[in-house]
């Protein structure tokens, strides 16, 4: 019996750094916080989490690199803002719909192939 292969789904998929950056619960919760507090400071963003300021900063930098978080200097302090633009781009939307199709077609593949008589 040959192993099930889903890898022959050839898609027009590109790597999606924005989704990769958001694929983490800490970072998602940071986004939620940033939506609530515009110009959040590290202290504000660390509050209520079990993480250190350093760890939170690291997560913010990951999101800054893909453009969904902006860092604004205010005197000696860094303030962070959520920037939804990269998420709003049509490319990201297409990636999202594209992933849905990948998943649906994987299910279809199993659906029509798994009932074949096994040798």
């Amino acid at each position: 019996m040959s192993p099930k292969r889903h890898s022959n789904i050839v898609a027009t998929r590109g790597r999606s750094p924005v989704f990769a950056a958001l694929g983490d619960e800490t970072r998602l919760s940071l986004v939620a916080k940033l939506c609530a507090v515009q110009n959040g400071s590290i202290s504000q963003l660390t509050e209520g989490s079990n993480l250190t300021r350093q760890a939170i900063t690291k997560h913010l930098r990951v999101m800054e690199r893909v453009g969904i978080v902006r860092c604004v200097r205010k005197g000696r302090e860094s303030r962070f803002q959520f920037n939804p633009e990269p998420i709003e781009g049509i490319r990201e939307y297409l990636d999202f719909v594209s992933q849905q199709w990948d998943q649906a077609l994987s299910r279809l593949k199993s659906f029509v192939e798994d009932e074949r008589p096994r040798s």
């Binding site: 022959n8 789904i9 050839v10 898609a11 027009t12 998929r13 790597r15 999606s16 989704f19 990769a20 958001l22 694929g23 983490d24 619960e25 998602l28 939804p84 998420i87 709003e88 049509i90 990201e92 939307y93 297409l94 999202f96 719909v97 594209s98 992933q99 849905q100 199709w101 990948d102 998943q103 649906a104 077609l105 299910r107 279809l108 593949k109 199993s110 659906f111 029509v112 192939e113 074949r116």
Partner: protein
């Protein structure tokens, strides 16, 4: 700007089998994760609701366009129309086409979805912000996916 999605998948199953999985509304519902009220009929609206975990509150609605046996199945719909309060009927739908082709090992299925350029940008944002836990779940899937296929 590219505004269409195209997928090709080689299925190790006869064209007739794939055709049935696509056009029998119960079979379609099983793999697409939607519970449809009745059979697909060209020119008619197909209604039902999503059964995908986390999205059960969403309705499914599509208009069947073409059913050319074992060759072409198509419908138009409003992809990820997640706001239950909003009437999407005034927006231009996208067109989904399933093309089937016999191959020595089974069936080559080509799926295209086109017309995304007509979707208002706030709709795109909404679809991406799919509320509740489904969104986080989706992010995890995507994360897993992108780390597997760099």
């Amino acid at each position: 700007m590219e505004s269409r999605i195209e997928k090709r998948v080689a299925l190790q199953a006869p064209v007739a089998r794939v055709w049935r999985a696509l056009t029998d509304y119960r079979e379609f519902g099983q793999w697409f994760r939607v519970k449809l009220d009745g059979p697909f009929v060209p020119g008619q609206v197909s209604r039902g609701h999503i059964t995908y975990p986390g999205y059960e509150h969403l309705r499914w609605e599509a208009v069947v366009e073409k059913m050319e046996p074992e060759r072409l199945f198509s419908f138009t719909w409003h992809p990820y129309a997640v706001d239950l309060q909003k009437d999407y009927s005034t927006e231009t739908p996208t067109l989904v086409e399933f093309g089937l082709e016999k191959t020595p090992t089974g069936t080559l299925l080509r799926v295209t979805e086109s017309g995304f350029d007509k979707i208002p940008s706030e709709r795109r944002v909404q679809a991406l912000r799919m509320n509740d836990g489904g969104w986080v779940e989706q992010m995890k899937n995507i994360e897993a996916h992108v780390s597997e296929t760099p």
